[in-house]
Symmetry: C2
Subunit: 208 residues, 2 copies
DNA sequence: CAAAATTAATCAAACGATTGATTAATTTCC
DNA sequence: GGAAATTAATCAATCGTTTGATTAATTTTG
């Protein structure tokens, strides 16, 4: 009895994240969230004040554990290329281990509602961008990288990952891959990391 | 009064596309569409049967003029690299001249509602992917391209463009760029084309 | 310790507002 | 005059939220 302690609050958050990801914020009703989580409808407002309160809670929670992780990498006494490869590996892993949130995040970025949430996501993303920017710019300054359009290279790195997560999986391969299948996800992750590391190595360090 | 002949049907389509882009399909009400287009609410159902009918009409209309354009390129008697560069130029131009639709399209791809629309978009996209796939594979087979992960290269090309369109513009540059400003859009377009052509050239043709 | 008081968690039911859709009447146009 | 276009009014359904009541757990008190 004491072991079977179900945290309704957490259940609501988990159900809501799943539903928001699948059918969008406006496309998800509070009744769906209640049904899916096994909680009463009133509990949503009891714990989070409103439907939007649930959404904000989810996003803040996720964003919090977003920018923190990669910071240390830039401190290491390793080459710019090795730093970049580490960042790519970390970035691919984190995003592909949280595909649902990442979809929500990008959908929110393409809307003009909830500007405060838009700004919050933008700020979180720009932290990651600045980290990559500093690494590449550093590499250019110490002569180990070619002179390139840094912001466009960043767009390629981030865009590649997002494309893999969002674009139709079936198109990704000849047969039917599925990002929800752990085995398939592992394969895609490794391919993505290998590709991006190879691409950046060739593009940034080839003498020409 | 009589000279002011406004096509209500077209007005509804245009207002709906703008609103769907800004606030999403579920986030847009038929009353908003009616108000914005200057038409009576009943006209939406009169012309399109339903709210979803408007959405389907918009998407079909746009998708129709999507895959048709690039086909001819592959026929040209030019090198694989030149073909690829032409495709990149055409692709960047078409997407960045229709950013609103492109946002809608990608948002729809990240949802699980309306599977028939999902499939339609997926099919349209996969046509473009197959075109690029054939060009790159052809280049590998005739020895002018390195052996690479073709699908990942395609993800990088398409992902880069999408990232530029959707990700926060302000982050794209030091100062405040705006894709709705024609002058800024032209600059970004040229930078994107130059970057992608340079990136693919180096990555695909550098001997190593 | 045990009775009383307080708090937190949960529920079914209902709220007013808004949704997409439809009706029936009217206007416009050829 | 009649078909097409347009309107205001209305529909049932669903939306997010609130309510008042109930249960279970905790704290206070004598």
């Amino acid at each position: 009895m004491k072991t079977e302690k179900v945290d309704k609050r957490q259940a609501i958050l988990e159900a809501a994240e799943k539903l928001f990801c699948e059918t969008g914020y406006e496309g998800t009703s509070t009744r769906q969230i209640a049904r899916e989580s096994g909680a009463n409808m009133a509990m949503i407002n009891y714990y989070f004040g409103s439907k939007e309160g649930v959404f904000v809670e989810i996003m803040n929670e996720r964003i919090a554990g977003f920018a923190s992780q990669l910071k240390i990498i830039n401190e290491d006494k390793i080459s710019a290329l090795e730093k970049l490869h580490k960042v790519i590996e970390g970035y691919v892993n984190r995003i592909m281990n949280n595909t649902a949130f990442h979809k929500m995040m990008h959908r929110e970025l393409s809307l003009t509602q909830r500007p405060e949430m838009y700004d919050k996501i933008k700020d979180a993303m720009s932290q990651n961008m600045q980290l990559i920017d500093r690494i590449i710019t550093g590499g250019i300054e110490d002569g180990s990288f070619n002179k390139v359009d840094v912001r466009m290279v960043i767009a390629s790195i981030m865009g590649t990952i997002t494309n893999i997560v969002i674009a139709p999986h079936k198109v990704m391969s000849c047969s039917n891959f599925d990002l929800n299948n752990p085995k398939d996800k592992k394969i895609i992750k490794e391919r993505a990391i290998a590709h991006l590391q190879d691409l950046t190595t060739v593009y940034l360090t080839t003498k020409r």
